[in-house]
Every structure is written in structure tokens, then in C-alpha cells.
Amino acid sequence: MVDVLMAILVAGFTSGALYALATVGLSLVWGSMGMLNMAHAAMLTLGGYVAFTVITSLGLPIAIGFMGAILVGAVAGAILYFAIVRNLLKNDKSTFEANVMIATVGIGIALENAILLTYGGQPLKQPVSIAGTFRVGPLTLPWQNLLIIAVVVVMMVVVSLALGRTRMGRAIRATAQNRDAAQLMGVAVNRVYLQVLMLSGALAGICGVMVSSMTQLSPPLGNDPMLKAFIMCVVAGLGNLPGAVAAALGLALLESFVQYALGARWGFPSLLFVVIAVLIWRPSGLFGRAEIRRM
């Protein structure tokens, strides 16, 4: 019984770590810009394929594959800013949220299909993986899960330090909390938006590498984790980063337990049940603050 429990915990923590990485990227963009980036799933997929190309086609080391995924993710975020977001911000601010959501749906579809055209639809094996297991007492744990958890923890620490300790991070948080006041302090908010999208893109890139290392590379790779990341964002309260991490880990553990107890097909419905319950009970999310908007 302990073996089963520990296996569920390990599986839950591994997928929770992946969801957390995806959720933080989404939540960061929403919290600071009020933008639901529907292209985040495709950016995640892009990261996975970039690492695959760098390692397999170019024959470079895995570390360079990681760097490539981060770099291309950040560049994709910058392109998204310059091509779409910057122009939509020049229009009526009240229509920005809806317009940018629609625009990024289109970008996501285009990017996913560009990947399909380039690499084909057949699943590919991501070379970023560590075979084998290790034993802790009576438990046998895969190295791959440990790698994923370790990478995500490192990324979370880096993001946390970047937001909490650096001038750029303080500007991002200030812009998220009060855009006008941040501008009065001398913060160029458009530059902050660019930085946020690049940071979010970099997180999506590395998340794509990690997700594909657990499954396989395919053009719709990012859709499932993104759907769950949206759920976790909503449960946590949009824009709340620590809450997003907590919700990602909690819901992933719940999903693992439900899948074990009731069968795999009940995992996703259990998440939907939670999000519906949270929206009824606390519409602003478990960790979110109520927001009143004048229509």
C-alpha cells in the first residue's frame, strides 16, 4: 500500500511540477498584462521541437538543446509582442483582453500547423531523457521524474529571484499591481510587457522539453498541459504566481489519486469538477482577490 501511495505521490509531483511551469508562464502574462495568451500551448510545443532539432539534427549536447528551447521561446515571446501585442495596446484599452485572446488563438493555430508542416504528424522521441531508476528504501523511482522535478524547482527559484530581487522583477510586479503608478515611477511599461512575454516564452520552451521527455513530440503536444494550466490558473486566481504553483501541485496530486482510485478516464473530469466548484464558491479563485469592473 505504501508503495502504491508513494508511486501516486511521485507521479502527482512530476505532473504537478510540469503543470506549475506551464501555469506560471500563463499566470505571469495575465497578472502583469491582463492577457490570456492562447498561443502558449504552441510556444510550449515549439520549445520541445527546438530541443529535438538541436540535439538530434545538429548533434549538439542536451544542455545546448535546453538553451535553444529557452532562447527560441523567449524570441517567440518577443515576436508575439512586436507583431501583435504592441499594436493591440495602441487601440482602445477596453477591447485589449478580447482582441489579444482572439489574436493569440490564431497565432497558436498557425504555429502548431507550421510545426506540423515542418516535422510531420508522426510522434517523435525527445532525446532529453534519463533511463533507469533508483531506489529509496522500498521504493523504485525513475531518474526522469527526478530530473523533471529538479529542473522545475531550479526554474521556479530563478523566476522567484528574478521577480523578487531584481530591478526588472520589481518593475514587473509594480506594473502588475498598478500600471499608472509604475509609469509615474519611470517604468516603461511597454518594455515590461516585452520582458514578461519573453520570460513566459522561455518558461514555455523549457516546459515543452520536459513534457515531451515524458511523452512524445507531436504538434498538439502543448494542448493538454495548457488546458490543465488554464484550469489551475483559474483555481488559483488569475495572476497569482505562488497560488498557481500551489494549485498546480494540489490538482496534479488529486488527478493522480483519482486516476488510481477511479480509473484514468476520471482524472480530467475531476479537475473540471474542482474548477466548477471553485468558480461557484470563490469566483476570483482560491488565492485571488475579488475584482470589480465597471462595464
Binding site: R167, R170, Q177, N178, D180, A181, L184, G186, V187
Partner: protein, 241 residues
């Protein structure tokens, strides 16, 4: 040499601004010289806050010119801040989830180095010692008076050429208003260049070098505070007595 003989820090030439299709400011001209304390008084809803927001770039300028030390402003708030305009807005506009210290540090966002930030922080803590005690407290948990002090402290941390203060007494208890104006009086004594907007001219009678009366987006009278306080008909007509 009197303050008015010095070159102007802030110069507004016939500025027009507003919201949507409505002009709120209808051609305002005024100057503030280095070390001067200038106040704009007027009833609610007649453009006082819009005036400061237009100077700092939060409300776009539709006509006229705004200059800082002879340099024309671009209208972008962050570039205006770079030129030394420190705006303490109405309602504080603090970063609610940041600590008092982080709010103050955001004020020094454009400061050139850490030594300068430390110098400004020491100066603010000397003027507002309560902020030092509250440095690790989250801004949203502060009282109204404390929030106002953080807003002023954050403005001072900007180390700007001119401080724009928007109705510092708004929504505060009389005792707290006295404390806030005590701090503002210290700024005046220290020779800070200040443009303050306020509804009640009695609050600035002993502080302001010059005073402008704003009505329906236009300046209808300018002079010394004591002169206005002696003009019962002006007070009755524009400020309800």
C-alpha cells in the same frame, strides 16, 4: 533674489486636455520656479487632478505645451519622470502587495546607483520616521494616513526637480491631515519645488508662495494666498465660502 526671478522649473503654456470628447482643461498657463511652492485650488470636478495627470503624462495633452527646465515633455509618463517630475497622485496609487520599503524603492527606480538610493532612503526616513518602523509591512495593510505618507515618501524617493501633490488631505481625518501637512510644510521649508492641488485654500495659506484658483478648467484668479483669503466674494463664488 526672489523665487520668481529664477528660471521656471515647470512651464505650462495654454494647455488643453480631457477625457473622451470632453475638454476638462481649457487653456491653462502657469509657471513654477525652483524652490517655489505653488498651489492650485478649486472645487471638485473642475480639473485639478486632470491638471497634474496632464503634466505627468497620464492624461494626453490635446493642445499647448508643457516644459521642464525649458525642455518640452513628450507626454509619455515614464519619460516625464526621467525629466524629474515626481507625481504623488490622488488616492496614493501604492503598489498594494509590496512592502513599504519596496514601494519606496520603486520611487527610486530611476536612481543612478545604490549609494544614491540609500541617501534618498535615509532622507525619507528622517522626514517620515514612521515609514522606517513600517518598512516591512505590506502597503495594503496600512491606514489611510500611513498610505498617504508612503505616497509622499515614494514621491521624494524619485528625487525629482518638482513634486506634484494631488489633494493630500482627501479622505483623511482632521488630525491626520494636520500630520500630512506638517510633512508638506517641512518640504516647503527645505526649499523643495512643489505644485500642490487642494480644495481648501486655508490648508495652504501659510505654505504657498502663489496660488491659482481653478474653475471649470480655467484659471480665474492668481495671487498670494492671503489675498484670496481676504476676498470673500471669490471664496463664496468659487469655493462655497
Amino acid at each position: 533674489m526672489g523665487a520668481a526671478a529664477k528660471p521656471p522649473v515647470l512651464q505650462l503654456d495654454n494647455i488643453v486636455s480631457g477625457y473622451d470628447g470632453l475638454d476638462v482643461l481649457k487653456g491653462i498657463s502657469l509657471t513654477v520656479h525652483a524652490g517655489e511652492f505653488v498651489t492650485v485650488v478649486g472645487p471638485n470636478g473642475h480639473g485639478k487632478s486632470t491638471l497634474l495627470k496632464t503634466i505627468s503624462g497620464l492624461v494626453p495633452l490635446r493642445a499647448g505645451q508643457i516644459g521642464i527646465d525649458g525642455q518640452r515633455l513628450s507626454g509619455k509618463p515614464h519619460e516625464t519622470a526621467m525629466l524629474g517630475v515626481a507625481h504623488v497622485p490622488q488616492g496614493d496609487m501604492l503598489f498594494a502587495q509590496m512592502s513599504v520599503l519596496e514601494n519606496l524603492l520603486m520611487g527610486a527606480y530611476l536612481a543612478p546607483d545604490k549609494a544614491e538610493i540609500t541617501r534618498r532612503l535615509d532622507e525619507v526616513y528622517a522626514l517620515l520616521p514612521k515609514l522606517a518602523d513600517r518598512r516591512n509591512q505590506i502597503a495594503s495593510s496600512l491606514s489611510g494616513g500611513e498610505r498617504r505618507m508612503v505616497g509622499i515618501g515614494r514621491g521624494l524617493m524619485m528625487g525629482g526637480r518638482i513634486l506634484l501633490i494631488d489633494e493630500p488631505s482627501l479622505g483623511l481625518a482632521p488630525l491626520i491631515i494636520d500630520q500630512v501637512y506638517g510633512v508638506i510644510a517641512e518640504l516647503s521649508k527645505a526649499g523643495r519645488t512643489v505644485l500642490l492641488v487642494e480644495e481648501n485654500p486655508a490648508r495652504v495659506e501659510d505654505l504657498a508662495d502663489r496660488l491659482h484658483l481653478l474653475d471649470d478648467g480655467a484659471i480665474v484668479w492668481s495671487g498670494k494666498p492671503a489675498e484670496l483669503m481676504a476676498r470673500d466674494e471669490l471664496l463664496a463664488t468659487y469655493l462655497g465660502g
